[in-house]
């Protein structure tokens, strides 16, 4: 009985510390810097918003590539 508890304890702690690690990573990325925006994150959670995020990523990639080339040429 107690040996099962020991295993549960170890597994439980590994899982909770992994989740805590993910949270710390998010916080260090600045995802929780803006408390008000964070609380309203649900509003920007539609398919349309996801598509926008993908489009934005592509646009930024293209802009960065063009800029790099321009700097190289000059």
């Amino acid at each position: 009985m107690n040996s099962i508890l020991w295993i549960e304890l170890v597994v439980g702690i590994i899982v909770s510390f992994t989740l805590l690690g993910i949270f710390i990573w998010g916080a260090k990325q600045g995802q929780f810097d803006d408390s008000k925006k964070m609380m309203n994150g649900l509003l920007n959670d539609s398919t349309e918003d996801l598509q926008d995020a993908v489009k934005k990523d592509e646009k930024v990639k293209e802009l960065k590539a063009n800029k790099k080339e321009k700097i190289k040429n000059s």
Partner: protein, 793 residues
């Protein structure tokens, strides 16, 4: 009967008769052209899902921005505000004006992200600051600003200072430490339930060891990572020969942790890892709230600085030259166009206009300026182009002076008294001494080091100031939620205690004791229907506060007023408005600029024949007299401070019955007055609403802003009366006083608990179960007592 309908864009409600109507699949109502324009722009660009996200929230009307955005492309601007990123893009930091809800953020970010050339947009909802990175080869900053303005918002640049970056970093650091502490404490609390239930149902030693091991794993990061700041604080305290709160928190928790380790790895007794985690977590949450307060002071300063004009037009050898503010010298000739802000102080040398001096005097009525009159920096030219000679450089000008003083005040806000903190300092020193004495006593009589150490530490543990730590926060929380329900926003819980102890309350006049809006007092002449219609049409042609008041008076007093088509409508600077109607010259305003009126007068003439004279006044708020009476009954000194003239201020002072009044006060004089009261040892509350009050607000022990006040006044205030009613101040005081009464009761309860239990612990009679139960009981007593606060009897 007319009904009230919401605007399809901003959702503000207006009478149906004044709305611009449109039918497009559904009936649309707009309160102004600005809202109509933005609505269609969003619809055409496929951004109408904004309204779904907006929900029932309301927006401010779209901001009509007169100044030219090309300023943003000038070299002086680039040099000051634009930075290059490592990848070669441009970066600017802006403060976006007009943001009210998450939908506003979504809209701005979406519109900008879809604009070609913009690499990154990030708008912070909490402080409305935006970071924008763009490719200058594709788009100019002025075009980005125009884009923001086109959807009804406005943007000002600001410089990210070192203090802001430091405050942000500090906030993030505390947030992480606090999150980890809360995470671990919550886990420990869950495990605790099993532990304490185990005491009743019989728990075997091996199971208890597993539980203690789990608590040890969770409590360790709390003490060494989250609690690190207490060790740091204690070290710097000791270095300066001070025993501070940090020392006591770190010493208490480390001793408890070491004792628990001893129990876990073989010793007898019970471990107290839960107490270690709880103490650190509770104190850390309090510290995090303090850090948040400091960060918002930095954000407030940035908002204020972004209002300062960037450059001025000076006349050099009959040519106009745009220079930055630092380049302006005394005796330079400066030109100020309509809508622009004066950059430095000076004296008018040509032209005739009116200036909005609300940032200096708090009065919304523009002040006429003729040759020889003084101009103050930061005031806005509202009528026509004027030239003036600089009498001071920028560094010595009024605006800069106020900004500098405000920065000083915000960085050194009066220290808020906190009874609990004061008490826990003495309490902790006493407990540490008692523990030490217990250890020494037991060691002397028993001779066993182990037993003496355990009994000594048990004194610290039994005295775990749970009830003391909860005494203030629980009562404050209940007080604050009651206040919030009444529309009274306290920015921090600690203001409750200070407010409950005030000696004097200082009120601003315009917008605080009075409504801040002019209204017609009397109209002695009778006019024909045709004349009334002419007067109505004329007053409707100007946005001057006096014209608006006359128009509103006519709308209220007469029915079926007709709008007549006036021609050649012309503003006569500092006097009034003139127009033609079928060759008839109609005029409304003052007749002679040289007469100094004691009240505001509006004359109406047709072909130079005087037909009506209106006297206007700023009305007292309905609850002003009651509020003053209430504070006088509470033996609190009431004072009125205003930038207005002596005649008006004394009249209002007499009407409301304040103990004392001061007229013609500049923002600095108001602040000095507050300081003089505080120097006498009085606790002072300042109530204001305007930019001119912000300095005085920042100097008071407690500052209260009316909900409709200027952004800056609200930003520097500790309490905001959201419903804009003076009775809210009475209610705030009443609730604060009642909450503070309960805080004192709670402190008493926790003290009595300690007086009873500590001697028992010192005698070595405390068993773990008794300790756990009595600790919970004292906390429950404190919580239960606090719940009685909003029991409104």
């Amino acid at each position: 009967m007319s009904k009230v309908v919401p605007c399809s864009h901003c959702h503000l409600e207006f009478d149906e008769s004044v709305m611009i109507k449109e039918v497009d699949n559904e009936e649309l109502n707009f309160c102004c052209n600005g809202c109509q324009g933005v609505y269609h722009l969003l619809k055409d660009d496929g951004l109408d899902s904004f309204y779904e996200k907006l929900g029932k929230n309301t927006l401010a009307k779209p901001l009509a921005v007169g100044s030219d955005s090309s300023n943003f492309d000038m070299d002086s601007f680039t040099e000051r505000y634009i930075k290059k990123t490592d990848e070669g893009f441009n970066r600017v930091d802006l403060i976006i004006e007009g943001i009210h809800c998450a939908a506003c953020i979504w809209l701005n970010e979406k519109v900008l992200n879809e604009t070609a050339g913009i690499v990154e947009v990030n708008i912070n909802f909490t402080n409305n600051k935006a970071k924008i990175i763009w490719d200058e080869d594709i788009i100019k900053l002025s075009q980005i600003i125009d884009k923001i303005r086109s959807i009804g918002y406005n943007a000002y640049p600001y410089n990210r200072t070192d203090s802001e970056m430091k405050a942000t970093k500090n906030k993030k650091d505390f947030f992480l430490r606090m999150s980890i502490a809360i995470f671990a404490s919550m886990n420990i609390m869950m495990i605790d339930v099993a532990k304490y239930t185990g005491y009743f149902s019989g728990i075997d030693a091996e199971m208890l060891r597993i539980i203690h091991m789990a608590e040890f794993i969770f409590a360790s990061p709390v003490l060494f990572y989250s609690g690190w700041i207490f060790f740091r604080g204690a070290y710097y305290g000791l270095k300066n020969k001070i025993i501070n709160m940090d020392f006591l928190v770190s010493a208490g928790s480390t001793l408890t942790y070491i004792y628990s380790l001893y129990v876990l790895f073989g010793g007898a007794g019970d471990s107290y890892f839960d107490s270690v985690a709880m103490i650190i977590t509770f104190v850390l949450i309090g510290k995090y709230l303090e850090v948040l307060g400091k960060k918002s002071a930095v954000d407030t300063m940035d908002k204020i600085k972004s209002q300062i004009p960037l450059e001025a037009t000076i006349i050099l050898n009959e040519e106009k030259k745009v220079v930055s503010l630092d380049e302006i010298k005394i005796d330079d000739i400066i030109e100020v166009k309509t809508g622009e802000k004066a950059s430095v102080d000076g004296e008018v040398i040509s032209g005739f206009s009116s200036f909005d001096e609300s940032s200096i005097s708090g009065e919304s009525l523009p002040v006429a300026k003729k040759i020889g009159d003084k101009i103050f920096s930061g005031t806005i030219n509202t009528e026509s182009v004027i030239r003036y000679k600089a009498s001071k450089n920028y560094a010595n000008s009024t605006l800069n002076h106020i900004v500098e003083l405000l920065e000083d005040s915000l960085n050194s806000k009066p220290k808020i008294e906190d009874t609990t903190q004061e008490m826990s300092k003495y309490f902790s020193i006493m407990i540490l001494s008692l523990a030490l004495a217990t250890f020494a006593g037991w060691f002397f009589y028993e001779g066993s080091f182990e037993t003496s150490l355990i009994v000594g530490i048990s004194v610290i543990i039994i005295a775990c100031p749970c009830a003391l730590a909860l005494a203030t926060p629980i009562a404050s929380l209940i007080g604050i939620s009651w206040l919030t329900r009444e529309g009274l926003l306290f920015k921090e819980a600690k203001y409750i205690e200070t407010f409950a102890k005030i000696d004097a309350i200082v009120f601003d006049k315009t917008g605080t004791l009075t409504t801040g809006k002019l209204s017609v007092k009397n109209m002695p002449l009778s006019l024909s229907k045709e004349e009334l219609n002419l007067l109505y049409s004329l007053s409707d042609s100007s946005i001057h506060p006096v014209s608006i008041a006359v128009k509103e008076y006519l709308e209220r007093s007469f029915k079926d007023l007709k709008h007549l088509e006036l021609e050649n409508i012309e503003q006569i600077p500092a006097l009034g408005i003139q127009a033609l109607y079928n060759d008839t010259v109609i005029y409304g305003g003052r007749l002679d600029n040289n007469i100094e009126y004691k009240t505001t007068i509006y004359h109406f003439t047709i072909n130079n024949k005087l037909l009506a004279t209106f006297e206007l006044e700023d009305k007292l708020r309905e609850d002003a007299i009651d509020t003053i009476k209430y504070f006088k009954n509470e033996n609190i000194k009431t004072v009125l401070c205003s930038g207005d003239n002596d005649f008006t201020v004394s009249k209002i002072a007499k009407e409301v019955g304040v103990d004392h009044y001061n007229a013609k006060m500049s923002p600095i004089a108001k602040a000095d007055y507050i300081k003089s009261l505080r120097d006498k040892g009085q606790k002072v509350v300042m109530v204001g609403d305007g930019i001119n009050d912000s300095l005085a607000l920042s100097r008071a022990d407690i500052s209260i802003a009316m909900g409709n006040g200027a952004d800056i006044a609200i930003a520097v205030s500790d309490i905001v009366i959201l419903n804009d009613q003076l009775s809210g101040i009475q209610k705030s005081y009443h609730i604060s006083k009642r909450t503070f009464k309960f805080i004192k009761q709670n402190l008493m309860i926790s003290l009595i608990y300690n007086i009873v239990t500590i001697p028992i612990a010192m005698a070595g009679f405390i068993i773990p179960l008794a300790a756990a139960l009595s600790m919970s009981l004292s906390s429950l007593l404190v919580v239960g007592n606090s719940l009685r606060i909003d029991n409104k009897k």
